[in-house]
Amino acid sequence: MMSKSKDITGLTVAGSKRSGRLSAVKEMPFLVKCALFWLVFIVAAAIYTRLDRLFGQALPLQDPFYQGFLFGGSSPTEGPSLDHVLGTDILSRDNLSRLLHGAWVSIAVATTVVSFGIVVGGLLGAFVGYARGRWETLVMGIMDVVLAFPPLVLLLALVAIYKVRSLPVIALVFGILSIPTYVRIARASTLGVASREFVQAAEAIGTKRVWILFREIIPNILPSLFAYALINAGFVIVVEGTLSYLGLSVQIPEPTWGNMINEGRRDIRQTILPIFWPGLFLTLSVVSLNMLGDWFQQRVAIRSSSL
């Protein structure tokens, strides 16, 4: 929720539509800038740790699997030191390294789900929203049935099927389940856009329907899909964290924020730090996505009302 003054900046943005991406960042309120910065940091961490694995851990970062109490070098649940900036976990592995490596699962799942939703759900929703008729009734009926499921329970049951819960499997299950909401949003926005003058004009001069769909409708529904996608990404990160916490997501020793919290839970009587760090990373990422999503949604709303 934003205050009045930010609504005004939103309006000026709407006035100068082709102001470019960089100036959009400049016009963000301070906190939203912080949110964007944090997300860039997390995505960078995810990519950096992947590269680190690719090069056989040649990049400057501790090994996330190295257990110091077995091979020397550190002991379990150490406090922060120069070697281990955020201390070590209960198996004396480096916390910072595990946190950064853990970013990968969250980011990868969220990105897959969102792309799935926008591409498959968005196309399907735009198509049935523009074509209308029997297809629309059928597709929306199916989507209603899927949406009528309790999401977390369905996800648990689906995930339980797989013995090997690898990252692609988890991402795919999440992705398919997320499609219905994207279809709904895409269809609703398409219904709004399809009645606009520029679409009627295109129809009047005999432009092909497919052409109108891709040139006129889809570009205009993308912003609202994207705004939802940011919020949805936050939700996906929460759900993946929950499954990880239950031990039903990507399996250990692969670090995820959720399974780090689960491992830290055993020592909660001594110290909260092993829960605190992954909890902080998880929460900050979700807060950032929500803030950015809210901000973007407001911009979209103002833009479409001024169209």
């Binding site: 929720m1 205050s3 009045k4 009926g141 209603d144 049935v145 009528a148 499921f149 309790p150 999401p151 977390l152 329970v153 369905l154 648990l156 049951a157 689906l158 339980a160 099927i161 013995k163 936050g234 929460v238 964290g241 929950t242 916490y245 239950l246 039903l248 919290i261 839970r265 909660i268 009587r269 909260i272 829960i275 909890g279 998880l282 929460t283 979700v286 807060v287 996505l289 929500n290 803030m291 809210d294």
Partner: protein
């Protein structure tokens, strides 16, 4: 007109329940591993004869469609089968554990509703003011904290730091009375309520901002009524319809959400049984509980939909 809408909704409910049952059955059917491996002790597995006997006793060799039909047919009569592992009837397990889950979901929606109304109303009244900004920061954060993390934090804070409340376990109302019961229920319900509370507060705020601009609010103010009275009597009432719908829809979702929270607080609810069923690959238990939770969710949502329809004539005409 209304009866036509209701008939259409009920038809959709039946279609949804059919899809839910089919999907649940087929999913669990795909679980790796032969159920025989879970039933028999490892040393009995060499005995091919007894394997065959149990197979035919449980009729595991029938085609999928027949077994699905049998399962649904029995489920309609309240028989969800028996756990292969603990030999417990699934319906007994549900009966035994549902009170905890229902109470948690109910308490959580109550907390979410009661706390959200003042927060949302005052944010709307002081739109853009200091209270509004603090409340907005709170709702954004509360919305972003996973329930299990909030639960762990509450355990750390209220049990380990202040030693006010127990961290795990459940005291039934029938055991030591309602106070002891609430003591064990308040932390899990509170952590479950957090996200719902944030959503409610935001909705009420948005709704009230619109309502406060109406003329009758201005006239109430002109009459010199105190602002608290105006807020609660004049402004909240039209917003209550939105609230009822959202709270109802949340109740279904919260029943799903208890699965995780029960695990965090080690409570004897339906969720912990489902999770342990998943860990043990207890096919019958997973199928039965999933079907049950999904049915409750779908039926509650239908009920709320219909209630809304009856309460708000404007929707009927659309």
């Amino acid at each position: 007109m209304l009866s036509k809408v209701i008939a259409a909704r009920i038809a959709r409910l039946v279609a949804t329940l059919f899809a839910v049952s089919l999907l649940t059955f087929l999913m669990v059917e795909q679980l790796p591993g032969d159920p025989i491996l879970a039933i028999l002790p490892p040393e009995a597995l060499d005995d091919l004869e007894s394997i065959e006997r149990i197979r035919s006793e449980l009729r595991l060799d029938d085609p999928v469609i027949i077994r699905y039909g049998r399962w649904v047919g029995n489920a309609l009569q309240g028989d969800l089968g028996k756990s292969y592992i603990t030999d417990q009837r699934v319906s007994d397990a549900i009966k035994d554990r549902i009170p905890v889950t229902i109470e948690l979901a109910f308490l959580a929606s109550l907390i979410a509703a009661l706390a959200a109304i003042p927060i949302g109303a005052f944010s709307a009244y002081h739109e853009g003011g200091r209270f509004d900004r603090i409340a907005s920061a709170f709702t954004t954060t509360a919305l972003s904290i996973p329930a299990f993390l909030a639960g762990l934090f509450f355990i750390w804070l209220f049990t380990l730091k202040f030693n006010w409340l127990p961290s795990t376990g459940w005291s039934r109302i029938t055991d030591k009375g309602i106070l002891a019961n609430l003591k064990t229920a308040i932390l899990p319900a509170g952590s479950l309520a957090l996200a719902a509370l944030a959503i409610n507060a935001r909705l009420i705020r948005a709704d009230m901002i619109g309502t406060l601009k109406e003329d009758y609010i201005l006239s109430a103010r002109a009459k010199g009524l105190p602002s608290r009275y105006i807020l609660m009597r004049h402004a909240l009432r039209p917003s209550s319809l939105t609230a009822i719908t959202v709270f109802g829809l949340q109740f279904g979702g919260l029943i799903g959400g208890t699965v995780v929270i029960e695990t965090v607080f080690a409570l004897p609810g339906l969720g912990t049984r489902l999770i342990s069923g998943i860990y043990q690959r207890d096919t019958m238990m997973i199928q039965g509980i999933t079907l049950f939770i999904a049915t409750v969710y779908v039926v509650v949502n239908l009920f709320i939909d219909l209630l809304y329809l009856v309460l708000d004539p404007r929707i009927r005409r659309q």
